[in-house]
């Protein structure tokens, strides 16, 4: 590099995003310090970094959320910047404040912009003033149940309870009837407290079955604020995005310009710097509403990277170092189609319960236009301490049709044994005619997959046959030699390999 942007960067995160940030630093020839809790000793991000420092025990509050210890570690290891990733401290204004005091650069927005946008209530009001359309609802956070009740009456049911500090669907509840309001507020507060350390929640009108469309924004110190087009994130389960894509099938070129301009207006109104994302709800009439601005790199940033050719994490680091947004980024255009699937450690066949355990076998899919952002390897023990996102699978293809085809193939080739993942569920979602038709709304999963069943019966014979050989080849498990053969198996396949989803498990 002609000029070194930073001397050394501490990456204040774990999992795939810590790995992603470390890779960007390597590209820029900047050494990195990884931090890890005792649960993450020898995790992938600790191995990739130039240095790795144990920061505390597994509970996040004693390790990844302990910003004082993190800033001290950065100073002690001669770092001059901290990258927060997403989640954990990434949207906590205390970190940029502590960084400033310690003369470290925080790779992200100012504490002020973060505080404004982190408060969903205040930012709603601010953006309404700036002429950006917002969703009807509370003008302040709710103090007691009566305020929620009256606000709900005014907006009309269904309504949505949201964490003021929220994000990622945590501390969020839809309420259809007055009877459920109190318990939902209670549950949302509990989740918000646990996830963000802040139990403030508020209420707004629930927009039924919208699309969730967001715009990537970049802003530098030189007066440039730009957007890098949209990401459609409508396919969600429990308000958690599971599949993201770009471009959105819903946007016309005119709407794209209109929403992109609104996103830039939001960033400017907030005095925003660095990378951020402006989220909109997009209803069936084609109206859009400002939802919130996320003041960090998003989980789904790779689909933007694959279609625009921009390296967003590199730009984050450059902007934080006071550089101008790169010229090629200012001129970036959309090209082709990209889709991301989040691979969660969860049992999609059993009410999406979180799954934990050792990854006994692991193999990533490969091929042109396939990208895996992973925080795990074979042998990684997935615990219960952290978010269940294991990896992200991203594909690029010239057209949406080819991208869907490539993603299905890649999901089939992505192997995880030992823990349950959402791969098969993703394959079913992507194969659905309504997904292929681009009819993706936030109720997509609920509507089409609430009674999903997977028929494993036709595959059991094959599974047993392979298991028999696996055992014979030196596994430690000892099979029973049963006394006598029984009659015909009830598991006979209908035809070889015709493994489908017919009977409910």
């Amino acid at each position: 590099m002609s000029k070194k942007l930073f001397k050394k960067i501490l990456v204040a995160n774990r999992g795939e995003i810590a790995v992603r940030v470390i890779r960007a630093c390597k590209l820029l020839d900047i050494p990195t310090v990884a931090i890890y809790s005792t649960a993450d000793k020898n995790a992938l991000h600790t191995l990739l970094a130039d240095e790795a420092v144990e920061i505390g025990p597994p509970p996040p509050r004693e390790s990844y959320l302990d910003f004082k210890k993190i800033v001290e570690t950065a100073r002690a290891h001669k770092c001059d910047a901290i990258h927060p990733g997403y989640g954990f401290l990434s949207e906590n204004p205390q970190l940029p404040i502590a960084c400033e005091k310690a003369r470290l650069t925080f790779i992200g927005p100012s504490a002020e912009a973060m505080r404004l946008l982190g408060n969903k209530v205040q930012s709603r009001i601010k953006m309404a003033t700036a002429g950006v359309p917002i969703i009807p609802g509370m003008k302040a956070s709710g103090e007691n149940i009566f305020q929620f009740e009256s606000a709900a009456e005014e907006a009309g049911y269904p309504v949505l309870i949201k964490a003021a500090a929220g994000g990622g669907g945590k501390g969020m509840r839809i309420v259809n009837r007055r009877e459920d309001l109190a318990s939902s507020v209670e549950a949302a507060k509990r989740e918000a407290k646990n996830a963000f350390g802040d139990d403030t929640v508020y209420l707004e009108k629930y927009i039924e079955n919208p699309r969730h469309i967001e715009f990537q924004v970049l802003a530098d110190d030189h007066g440039n604020t730009i957007h890098l087009f949209e990401r459609e994130c409508s396919v969600q389960r429990r308000h958690q995005k599971i599949i993201e894509e770009t471009p959105s099938t819903a946007l016309t070129p005119a709407l794209r310009v209109q929403m992109g301009n609104a996103a830039v207006r939001v960033a400017n109104a907030a005095g925003y710097r660095n990378a951020g994302t402006v989220e909109f709800l997009f209803d069936k009439s084609g109206s859009f509403y400002f939802l919130e601005m996320n003041t960090r790199i998003q989980v789904e940033h790779p689909v933007t990277e694959m279609t625009t050719g921009v390296d967003l994490v590199v730009e984050q680091i450059r902007i934080a170092a006071g550089e101008k947004i790169s010229d090629y980024v200012l001129e970036a255009k959309q090209r082709g189609h990209a889709i991301e699937c989040r691979i969660y450690a969860e049992d999609a066949e059993n009410n999406f319960l979180p799954s934990s355990g050792e990854i006994l076998f692991y193999q990533e899919p490969v091929g042109p236009g396939i990208r895996v952002d992973s925080g795990v390897e074979q042998g990684t023990v997935v615990g219960v301490e952290y978010d269940p996102i294991l990896a992200k699978l991203i594909v690029y293809a010239p057209t949406r049709e080819l991208a869907i085809s490539k993603m299905i193939q890649a999901l089939k080739e992505y192997k995880f044994l030992g823990i349950k993942t959402s791969r098969k569920f993703m394959i079913d979602v992507l194969s659905h005619p309504e997904f292929k038709a681009g009819n993706t709304y936030t109720n997509f999963i609920e509507k089409h997959f609430s009674d999903r069943t997977v028929d494993v019966v036709p595959a059991l014979e094959l599974a047993a046959a392979v298991s028999t050989v696996a055992m014979a080849q030196g596994s430690k498990a000892r099979p029973t030699a049963v006394k006598q053969a029984k009659g015909l198996s009830p598991w006979q396949t209908i035809g070889p390999w015709e493994i489908g989803m017919r009977i409910t498990k």
């Binding site: 014979e461 029973t480 493994i499």
Partner: protein, 166 residues
Amino acid sequence: MINQFAYNDETVETRLKTVPSGFEVSVGENIYLVSEIAPGKFQTHLNGARKLVCCVVKENRSYIDIDGMLIELDIPSDDGNMASSAAAHAIAKDKIFAPMPGTIVKLLVKEGEKVEAKQPMVIVEAMKMENQVNSPASGTVKKINFKDGEQVGTEIPIIELELPVP
């Protein structure tokens, strides 16, 4: 040699024969030709059709991936019981276990209460998400072993049911 595997409350039997190209496994009326092409990766043939399958066996449980679909088969131990507790849990409909270690957020039923199948019984928090656990069957709540706010593992059932005699 005859091997037995269990999936939920069903069992399947296989017979293994070594052949020069790998193994022949009889399952029901079918004969599968199976060979390991790399650790954990198997090539199989049935009636000329070919399929690649990943499989790892660990602690009396076999993990199989077929085109992204995961199947876990239990390997009964010598005394005929399921060695893995998860397997045992999957079959026992009268005991409600936590899906994974976590915290009891709220119990939604009381001892002595009659419950329907699929009725919500308890909310358990794990991995930052609240997970609702539903009743696997209709019956009566016989015993509750935990209180709200307590830590729960996967060894002791949270709730024990009394099922009606079929």
